[in-house]
């Protein structure tokens, strides 16, 4: 890690510079993250599966000049270079291929005694994770060393983690679920198993790896665990070493939770909730296998965190009533990269009972407290959905469709397909145009991450609307599914 920091320093990287990381799941991600942070620079994880245009928009949005990568991504890196941006150097590709490439071998030749000149303050940026906005514009969530370390401390304390723990990291580094394995584990000296991509695709191999490594903690989206349940041969695996099963990103269907708790009776299962803007902000430990199919509660906020549930007029709702959840926490982001307007819109200043002003983050999620005072999730305020744990702004998908010359209007909705949510789109074509639906999908695939691309496109002559002309998306959905 110090060798990488030394190399970056020689390349002229200054404190606060944004450095991209463009890699599959691999060991070098840890070197990249820590090498970048050690120098005081800011790591920006880029999803190698994203379309090149989208990656390019992130590279431009936060002025990335250097990307840390590795040979499997060579072709894609070449494509990114051809786009219009200020990228000038790639660390991790063999220099024979291009003058602006520096190989990992050369990195390992640097001094491992390197010490950065400047001191890093808690308020300095550590990383920026991108999510998509409702207009399709990328939003860079800025986290500081303070917010990152707060998450590491709080999660280490809550789950009682120490050097004997072995954490299975399933998530790619552009997903904040990775912060448990990459931040919390090093803080307490635990071991993190970076699950390679191949294992995330073949559940029978994954369960074998988990058992072989005697993992004590597993943290992933529900889908990964449902795949283990259905195809992971759990009956044949001794996973008694597991102490904690944490999940986040999406609700866990109670029927699968029941089945998993039967397989792993000694593990504690926790529902972890938190928008990436605050990483984690609540914890709910599931006490006994769910008896019915009621959604698993979000529970309550964890340490160093306060919450408010407010209505449309920014007033705290009465006990038990529904409203938007606001979070005050030491794990809160600093703001959105170079977007003060959006940052201000997302924050709310509250005067507490001592007369002090506190800043809360507006989650956009609707909640109420049930009779047992547990937080229960009631959906979104807007048109954002979760697909496989990823946030998708349906408004952005609609806006993108309308940029296509053949399309006049669009309405996007979700369909529950067995255990997963699927996006589908309805479009109204411009008069007397015809368009091949495959062409439309290809058009969308060029600019949207794979999980945001509609599975099906329906053509309608008109959309059902309200009296004031707003599209009634639920009616559009009904119409499409009837056909």
């Amino acid at each position: 890690m110090k060798q990488l920091a030394d190399m970056l320093d020689q390349l002229g990287v200054k404190k606060g510079d944004r450095i991209g990381i463009y890699m599959n799941r691999c060991m070098e991600t840890a070197i990249a993250i820590y090498g970048i942070m050690y120098l005081g620079a800011v790591y920006v994880p880029l999803d190698p599966k994203a379309p090149i245009h989208r990656t390019n928009s992130l590279v431009k949005n936060c002025d990335i000049g250097i990307i840390i990568s590795h040979p499997p991504q060579r072709k894609k890196i070449e494509n990114i270079f051809e786009e219009d941006n200020d990228l000038h150097t790639i660390v991790g590709l063999p220099e024979e291929y291009a003058p602006h490439y520096i190989s990992w071998e050369e990195v390992y030749e640097q001094s491992s005694n390197f010490r950065p000149g400047k001191l890093i303050k808690p308020t300095d940026l550590a990383y920026i994770m991108y999510t998509s906005g409702s207009t399709g514009q990328p939003k860079g969530i800025m986290h500081t060393h303070f917010s990152g370390l707060s998450y590491a401390r709080l999660s280490a304390d809550l789950y009682g983690l120490n050097e004997n723990d072995k954490i299975g990291n399933h998530a790619p580094i552009h997903f904040d679920i990775s912060t448990l394995g990459y931040f919390t584990a090093p803080l307490v000296g635990a071991t993190t198993l970076i699950v390679p991509d191949a294992y995330t695709i073949m559940p029978a191999s994954l369960s074998q790896l988990m058992a072989k490594e005697r993992l004590t903690v597993w943290y992933s989206v529900p889908l990964a665990m449902i795949q283990l349940l259905q195809k992971g041969l759990l009956k044949e695996r001794d996973l008694s070493s597991l102490k904690w099963i944490l999940y986040g990103g999406e609700p866990f269907p109670p029927k699968y939770m029941r089945a998993l708790m039967k397989h792993w009776p000694n593990a504690q299962f926790c529902n972890v909730y938190g928008p990436a803007e605050v990483n984690q902000c609540t914890n709910y430990q599931i006490p006994t296998p769910p008896v019915d199919n009621e959604p698993i509660p979000i529970g309550d906020v964890w340490a160093e965190t306060k919450c408010l549930i407010i209505n449309e007029e920014d007033e705290v709702v009465q006990k038990g009533k529904q409203g938007e959840l606001l979070i005050h926490s030491t794990t809160r982001m600093k703001g959105y990269w170079q977007n003060d307007v959006l940052t201000q819109q997302s924050l709310y200043t509250h005067t507490n009972s001592d007369g002090k002003q506190e800043i809360y983050y507006r989650t956009g999620d609707l909640f109420h407290r049930d009779e047992q005072n547990r937080l229960q999730f009631n959906g979104r305020k807007d048109h954002q959905v979760k697909i496989r744990g990823y946030r998708v702004e349906l408004d952005a998908v609609e806006a993108l469709l309308v940029t296509h010359p053949a399309i006049l209007e669009s309405a996007v909705f979700t369909v529950q397909n067995n255990d997963s949510k699927q996006i589908q789109a309805a479009v109204i074509l411009n008069e007397s145009t015809r368009v091949d639906k495959n062409d439309l999908i290809a058009f969308l695939k060029q600019q949207l991450p794979y999980y945001a691309v509609p599975e099906k496109i329906h053509t309608l002559d008109a959309f059902p609307r309200t009296g004031s002309g707003k599209i009634k998306r639920s009616e559009v959905k009904k119409k499409c599914l009837e056909i």
Binding site: Y199, I201, A204
Partner: protein
């Protein structure tokens, strides 16, 4: 047999992209050429096309990492069934 499988991957999992070339030895799992949803569809296709059920304990990286590995696996299963 390689070509049948490669053809399916390109046509069904990558929308028939004209510029995509896959060889029998390419690492499908590490490269992102096939991801988890795609793999489930691919296994279903193999079961339908070659007329057998992939046993759950055979759904491992060794058997599905490359097209070559898949072909070896399919042939070994078919060989056993013919005995």
């Amino acid at each position: 047999m390689d070509q049948i499988i490669i053809g399916y991957i390109i046509k069904e999992l990558h929308n028939g992209r004209a510029d995509l070339e896959i060889s029998a030895k390419d690492d499908l799992l590490g490269s992102g050429l096939v991801e988890s949803m795609g793999m489930m569809r691919l296994i279903q296709f193999i079961e339908d096309e070659f007329n057998f059920k992939v046993a759950p304990e055979d759904m491992t990286i060794d058997h599905f990492m490359t097209v070559e590995a898949m072909v070896n696996y399919i042939e070994s299963v078919q060989f056993v069934e013919h005995e």
